[in-house]
């Protein structure tokens, strides 16, 4: 089959590899219909996630059709149209049973490696480095899905492939971010980053009862999406002082919750931006936490900071004094999508949300390098590239 593999920084190539096969009794093989790039792939593409190996098949947001099932798979049949959560869960460990699927204890075959870095290990992720299990990713014609009964969700009739695709990762990640904000009626929620995850976080904040949602980015076309498709108020941080603007919008109170949907490769202008860029390049600091710093500063006393932008290592100059003295609540993590996906598919089926508006480009796997370049540089107003293997 054809698959898009990582070979080094800024180097992905479509090559022919062998087809996947059932390796364990709970596996299923899915023929991939759609597979999306994700902002977190850029951390791999840019070489900021350790333990990638040349030849790794990347991609983790996908939907498709079941073509084969292992002998212990019970809920799926050949021909089922499914969306698969990008995080792999076993469904049986204590974490899974408590709904903390992204902390699954049994799905990461390289648990010891991640455990030695983070103290304890977490779940495996499709196509996301050997630290997270070394699973082959979804930018391929076929993919093997472990614990398929737990990780693959049947797509209801009437839900289009384009919309169902984002129930894999972007929508549950955004929903998790909003859910973590403990939104009360009348709350104002600010979201940094208007990629697909940020846009879905804005949608989700509304779904969970926020009165006003504020989108923060620097790309006019993304801000326009937030305004037109979500109904968010928008702030371009290149044009306004975000913290002052948020004070103004909230009449001096500050947002009740702030969502970081950007993570480790945040952009900032001026000296602070240069400072982090230099440190990250020299590997003195793995992550560039501009958004985190801003969000801590901007959040109202007693408010919640919800982090879904990916961080991989160590951060510098985090205003912990502000966080501590303002009694902020920090919530964060990789999405436990299994908790939300059926509910999100219902929202889509009911016409309340259609995440497919984030798709700006479609390509074959053979144009993978071009797709990631577009996505990285955000040329041609690119928000999401979707591959059709």
């Amino acid at each position: 089959m054809r698959a898009l593999c990582w070979y080094g920084n800024n180097d992905v190539r479509a090559v022919t590899v062998s087809d996947p096969s059932i390796l364990n009794p709970h596996d299923a093989i899915i023929r991939v219909r759609l597979s999306s790039v994700c902002g977190s792939d850029l951390h791999l593409y840019d070489g900021f996630v350790p333990s990638m190996m040349p030849g790794d098949i990347i991609g983790h947001e996908f939907m498709g059709e079941v073509v084969d099932t292992g002998r212990d798979v019970q809920n799926l049949q050949r021909g089922d149209r499914v969306v698969v959560c990008s995080i792999i869960a076993c469904g049986k460990c204590l974490y899974c049973q408590r709904g903390l699927f992204s902390l699954c204890e049994n799905s990461n075959p390289n648990a010891w490696a991640e455990g030695s870095l983070f103290g304890y290990h977490t779940a495996g992720i499709f196509g996301y480095s050997h630290l997270f299990g070394g699973y082959a990713g979804s930018h391929a014609e076929y993919i093997r899905v472990p614990f398929a009964d737990v990780n693959a969700f049947k797509i209801p009739e009437g839900v289009a492939d384009d919309a169902a695709l984002f129930a894999s990762d972007a929508f549950p990640t955004g929903f998790f971010a909003a859910d973590n904000c403990n939104i009360q009626l009348g709350d104002i929620v600010a979201v940094w980053g208007c990629g697909a995850v940020g846009l879905m976080a804005l949608c989700s904040a509304y779904l969970l009862g926020a009165e006003r949602v504020i989108a923060i980015d620097r790309f006019p076309e993304r801000l326009q999406m937030a305004r037109e498709h979500v109904g968010a108020e928008i702030l371009n941080y290149m044009e306004v002082d975000v913290i002052e603007a948020l004070k103004d919008i909230t009449a001096g109170r500050g947002p009740d919750a702030c969502i970081d949907a950007v993570g480790m490769e945040a952009h900032a202008g001026g000296l602070p931006g240069m400072y982090d860029k230099v440190k990250q390049t020299l590997r003195l600091e793995l992550d560039r936490p501009h958004v985190l710093r801003h969000a801590i500063q901007a959040c109202r006393p007693g408010g919640t900071l919800s982090i879904v932008g990916v961080y991989a290592g160590l951060l510098d100059k985090i205003p912990m004094g502000a966080a501590m003295n303002k009694a902020l609540t920090f919530k964060m993590g990789q999405q436990p999508g299994h908790r939300y996906i059926p509910r999100l598919l219902d929202y889509i089926a009911a016409g309340q949300v259609d995440p497919s508006f984030v798709i700006t480009h479609r390509m074959s796997l053979d144009h993978g390098q071009e797709g990631y370049q577009l996505f990285k540089t955000k040329a041609e107003d690119c928000v999401r590239v979707v591959f059709t293997p």
Binding site: V17, P25, M53, I57, N106, G124, A136
Partner: protein, 254 residues
């Protein structure tokens, strides 16, 4: 997961006693006598000698009372432990000691039952090739060694409380002397079972010993930790997570 690996050089973990019983009694009596003599000024000489007698007597007395000698401790000496090396599989203060634990989302009965059927062990212990149960107490173990070699030994159960503990040791003529125990205890709030493994082994000298050292790699506790993780996966999900045999762009299938 908790881990401790160390050479059993001077570790007496359960107590700090390093003075043998007879020696303690002598210390106790001599110490008491010295202190008394000092206090009654029987010791010939002046003030310093008197104070010295009292302090020295106190030290001896205390050494007898507690069984702990700072000087022995500093010299790595220990007269408290029986050193009859023929009586145990792994003599005291020798060999490699590994301690590792994990919590499994299954009842102590289930985990014990699975473990007690020793023929299951090679399913999650990667370095084991086979275990054959010979009778109620004895079993024959075959472990993989580098270069296609194997290491074999017979073992017997020396301690067993159903659903709680299994202890075993190798019998004489083992190619690798070893002893170990596994304990099963309900985790807090009934959330599964705490499984604690202790293992001691003495690699033989010579090339076979070197091969065995490599068998466990540089970090035996990591090997045992991985074994326990596979046991957990097997008992909780019925399979062991893997990516062996999946496609990649590294030239065909891996």
């Amino acid at each position: 997961m908790q881990q401790t690996t160390h050479q059993m050089m001077n570790q007496e973990q359960t107590s700090s006693i390093n003075v043998g019983n007879e020696e303690r009694l002598v210390s106790l009596l001599a110490g008491a006598a010295l202190m008394l003599a000092g206090l009654k000024r029987i010791v010939p000489g002046g003030f310093l000698q008197t104070v010295g007698a009292i302090l020295g007597g106190y030290y001896l007395f205390n050494r007898g009372l507690t069984g702990h000698c700072e000087i022995y401790h500093a010299l790595d000496m220990n007269t408290a432990v029986e050193t009859n090396k023929n009586a145990v599989s792994v003599p005291h203060q020798q060999g490699v000691h590994v301690r590792k634990s994990i919590t499994i989302n299954a009842s102590p009965e289930e985990v014990y039952r699975f473990w007690r059927n020793f023929e299951n062990l090679p399913r999650f212990m990667n370095h084991l090739e086979s275990v054959r149960v010979m009778d109620e107490r004895r079993s024959h173990w075959v472990a993989k060694a580098p270069a296609g070699m194997t290491v074999e030994w017979d073992a017997e159960i020396i301690n067993e409380v159903p659903n709680e503990v299994i202890g075993w040791r190798s019998l004489q003529d083992a190619q690798i002397s070893n002893a170990g125990s596994v304990r099963f205890r309900p985790a807090p709030r009934g959330n599964g079972t705490e499984v604690r493994v202790e293992l001691e082994y003495v690699p033989p000298a010579g090339p076979l010993g070197a091969a065995i050292a490599r068998l466990f790699g540089e970090e035996p506790s990591q090997q045992i930790g991985e074994d326990l993780r596979r046991l957990k996966q097997l008992l909780e999900t019925g399979e062991i997570a893997t990516t062996e045999g999946q496609p990649s762009g590294r030239g065909g299938s891996r």
